[in-house]
Symmetry: D2
Subunit: 361 residues, 4 copies
């Protein structure tokens, strides 16, 4: 299952950073869904590098080529495959890297797992570049969900400890669209400026910084999910931890709930003005017992600082079995979190669509 996830909607990612192409397969998409390629491009643009001074200059047009599963722009029901050719990859000297694993990267663990046979150029299959095909799949999922009035949006919740405002209890499509159009995806632009300053400061120090992303899905129907090990939190977490650099995940009040009292954390049920059952708060993040409550599904994702930094770092020589020093060359995003915002949306959308397809909704 390594690079696949999903139960009904199966998504599989393939490719290495400096290989011929990267891509994604999607199985069991419903038939007859039109894909709006402009909307998809706009979504992919949000993750694309080189957008601003804060991200890597690698120029990747990343235009997806659809090999199967589409006929006249609509899904056919059979497996969809889309690829992105790798054009800009310069396989500079990776000889040093292959002997001296970069701290914080998967170089060493991949070396062990594949007995030195892995393609580690540019991070290989572990590269953040693999999130591009994930966004193709997720962008398609978002379009299908939107037709069902389900919207998924995300923003930078914090960077370097500087927090954006949190989502309101029930965010809406307009809010998500607004964030999506921003160059720096936050709710409060003033706070966003402070975050950007922190990123620039880290970058100028030859260093990097981490961040937290908050994601919400609105309009997801109540009563969807499963108990115990196949609930919404289970499937979402299994997929979200597949995004490179994710080290933490919480739903609703999350870690904060651990210092709350029950009377405070429990979300009282109430009839709303339309005669529907709602809750007055949403500390559960829209999920009770693995099953949706009908309230927004809310999650927060902690991303570690980019492991590639300009500063010299301690490592070892695998061949000489001795300590060594390493300087990682090249230009890397000093903070990966801003570009990861649409990736979190993509994965969330894919998991939620998986459930809907399962329920034939």
């Amino acid at each position: 299952m390594s690079s696949e996830f999903g139960k009904t909607l199966r998504v599989g990612v393939f490719g290495e950073s400096h290989g011929r192409a990267i891509g994604v397969t999607m199985q069991n998409l419903p038939a007859g869904e039109a894909i709006d390629f402009n909307t998809l491009e706009a979504f992919l643009d949000r993750r694309r590098p080189g957008k601003n001074a804060l991200s890597t200059a690698r120029n990747e047009p990343d235009r997806p080529v659809f090999l199967s599963g589409l006929l006249e722009g609509k899904t056919t029901g059979s497996p969809l495959c889309a690829i992105i050719e790798n054009r800009d990859a310069r396989s500079r000297d990776y000889a040093e890297l292959s002997d001296k694993p970069r701290p914080g990267h998967a170089d060493y663990t991949a070396f062990l797992k594949w007995n030195g046979e892995a393609d580690l150029r540019g991070g290989g299959h572990f590269s953040g570049r693999l999130t591009a095909p994930l966004c193709i799949a997720g962008g398609i999922a978002k379009q299908i969900l939107a037709r069902k009035n389900i919207f998924v949006g995300a923003h930078l919740f914090s960077v370097a400890g500087i927090a954006d405002e949190a989502f309101s209890r029930v965010p809406d499509q307009a809010l998500f669209d607004g964030i999506a159009q921003k160059e720096f995806p936050v709710l409060n632009d003033a706070l966003g400026c402070q975050m950007q300053e922190a990123i620039v400061a880290a970058s100028q120090a030859g260093d990097s910084i981490g961040g937290v992303i908050e994601c919400a899905a609105v309009g997801f129907p109540a009563g969807i999910g499963n108990p115990m090990f196949d609930g919404i939190e289970n499937r979402l977490s299994a997929a979200i931890f597949g995004i490179p650099a994710v080290k933490g995940l919480e739903f609703g009040a999350g870690f904060a709930a651990s210092s709350m009292r029950g009377s405070e954390n429990n979300d009282p049920f109430r009839m709303d003005e339309n005669g529907n059952i709602t809750t007055t708060t949403n500390h559960a993040g829209g999920i009770l017992g693995g099953i949706s409550t009908g309230q927004p599904i809310v999650l927060r994702v902690a991303m570690k600082p980019t492991p590639s930094i300009a500063k010299a770092q301690g490592t070892v020589s695998l061949s000489k079995r001795e300590n060594a020093e390493l300087i990682v060359h090249g230009r890397h995003d000093p903070c990966i979190a801003p570009r990861a915002v649409p990736v979190v949306e993509a994965v969330t959308a894919l998991v939620l669509l998986d459930y809907l397809l399962e329920e034939k909704l």
Copy 2:
């Protein structure tokens, strides 16, 4: 897959709180593994209610009966099934509960999912009681892991915001055994006393409180796991979120990494005194790119406060479609986290054993 998890080692849990029995099946256990029933009992005792003043008085001897998969105390290789009969369940009047969903519980979502047909007495299949069979399975996994010099231990990391000490960089078996013998599973007993006071305070206020559990696995070999969606974090998270009341999970530095710089968070590689590759810190929690580094696997689990509280709460009547008030009777653990400590160990052990069996280690 609802109540199952694992890829090679398949674990399935069944039963309802007030049904005839609860139980667990384990598929693909290795053959010939002796089970030490005393050790298993001792492990189950750590989760058992009624141990002290802080936990519910329900008297559950919870002695497992093994129906299959064992011959003369050793595993046979074919599916193991163990059950615990429900003797002490008093199906007091659940009529009110079935109409008025308890806030913070799965009553409402289960009602929707199963069209009012779920057995919700005592929480039904969502009851914390289902963690007992999970501990049978996990206790067996821990014994098999220990024979491979892999040890899994956990402690209360915080309750009500009161933090225990964190695990040292490399905890050991002795430390884990020490915690396991304590009535209140913390490293620093003085801090543990403060936690207990906070629990008593919540209880006396007719309320409950949450907590965080820290779990570590030492001795797990390097190079195990998979990239992207089937890595150690993915499988552990999918399973850990199956424990009732878990709302957050982080590995290594976790959420704290999001405000760290790369130079700080990256774990430099170094040769140790024995000529092995190690890292000087372990912010990665023993996992890079989904694959083990050979350092301890470290995770922290946030548990919400027990949703059953004595205070009156707002809810709705499902039949009358109007607001209502609910008082949950019965005695419940004011803080579920202490009893969940062995449950987190159990699930962690099961997932790690799953990987080892897959690797034939």
Copy 3:
């Protein structure tokens, strides 16, 4: 996955022939389905040994005990577990058997796989006795299918080369019910007598004989299934080969189609009198491209002769690594096929229900 199958409806079987109990778990059953226990008993009776002179005398009341998943006789939606206690198992001396593997049984292969640790008493987990829990699950599936006007029936298609009549193109419930009430499940009782004579002859010769079972499902809707590797034939075959002694399987015209011409084998489409699309023949056995056509699903299952025979057989001593002779004591069914008829129905019903649940039909 060893002893489990199904995608949405997960069925897992556990137990050994001479262990404490055998049983079955079912996950993702729909909630609110009443189980008619008399009908279920009647179904289990069809597979029960000792019914007539032809089958083993082991007295197994085989009354299932439901541990979970039922409330007041109706499914709750959470995992169902049912067990049958092993009362009549006499663990006579299996020492010889464990050293001298019985030809045609799994003794030798199980010995290798589990390093001599398997419980092989009475065939252990490989025993035909494990089809009893399978019939509990299948009997429940048949009841749920019947409410959707889908009926599954089977008969002995041939024994010792003596063929019964084949099912007509569209068999019906009444026909299935008629066969179910017969002591010897054939369409043509005269031919059934000949089969029984052949079985008696084999038995009197200290030998055994094989047979073929034909199974049909009527009322299954058109358009259900999947292309390539998850079609109806794929899932049915994966499950059917789990029945002990099955060595062949064909759908529709099956092997006969291999010597037919296309013009003969193709089923022409036609409008029927009600304006529905039908086919004039059903050589496809109701499945094209892995997807149902709406015609009866028809399959035939080849079962080898019971490997336990009274005649002396050549084997080896595993301990002495030398040739040996073996006489299998005890009484065994000289032909397993008659008792396997309901088992084939059970497995077929479970797979078809799996698809229906997936489609939310």
Copy 4:
């Protein structure tokens, strides 16, 4: 899972007959396996159309392009993706076909399943053309198996009722290589000539004919597999029925076992000259209780006649809901079985490699 199979070695096929490309992904291939592209080409050539007068003239060079998972001709351990571009597809008028489903094809069932949105040009995703990527994957599997001294070979067992000789009890690599080099894959060329005459006769009559393929794997170690639902027969059957036109499958003596006596069908164990345990016959086809015996794994696959025939056939107009007549134009293989011989080898090799990877052998 529609178009995927395998547990450890996951194989997924995508593409439509007249789409942009068809392809295959392979997950969890071992790292460091060199691929001999010449050998792979030679294998793909065996399935290629247009080889002789008997098969369709469509000119498909079918040269695979590897997009990922290879570095300098060796597997890297991360997902491999290979594609074949569709160059020769002429989307002639499929308007008639899309309204008038071809008997024996999946047109009608795919129409139902995907609400008329499926790409059915040339059979779409159901086309026999999809077996080309399957052979890429299988050809790679065969190379890896050969390094472990496991060889998989197949031949035409019968066509139009004309039978080739059966494999000897233990066929070997040389025999398999010999068949692979023949234009018509049989053991006995004289019998092969008769088969070819029967194919030509069917073709000249505007008709088609079916066939049976026998496949064997030698060198597969004993003790591999699982009981009940995950045994070798289960996994092989689930995959083999994914090959278009397969309607029957048997292992070892198969259907013939159903009219054999136990004393005849049981394979006595014996010590061979090298002190290894063997059996004197192999009616079990190398599998007992789902687990390998160490004897050759032997299976036979029944393929129906090509449904595309030149003769006029009865069908319906889906739009007009009335009976219609259809003449399928274009040139099609009058017997698909000869070209399916390497496909059966490919699928068998993939399933056996899946088990070996699982066992880390």
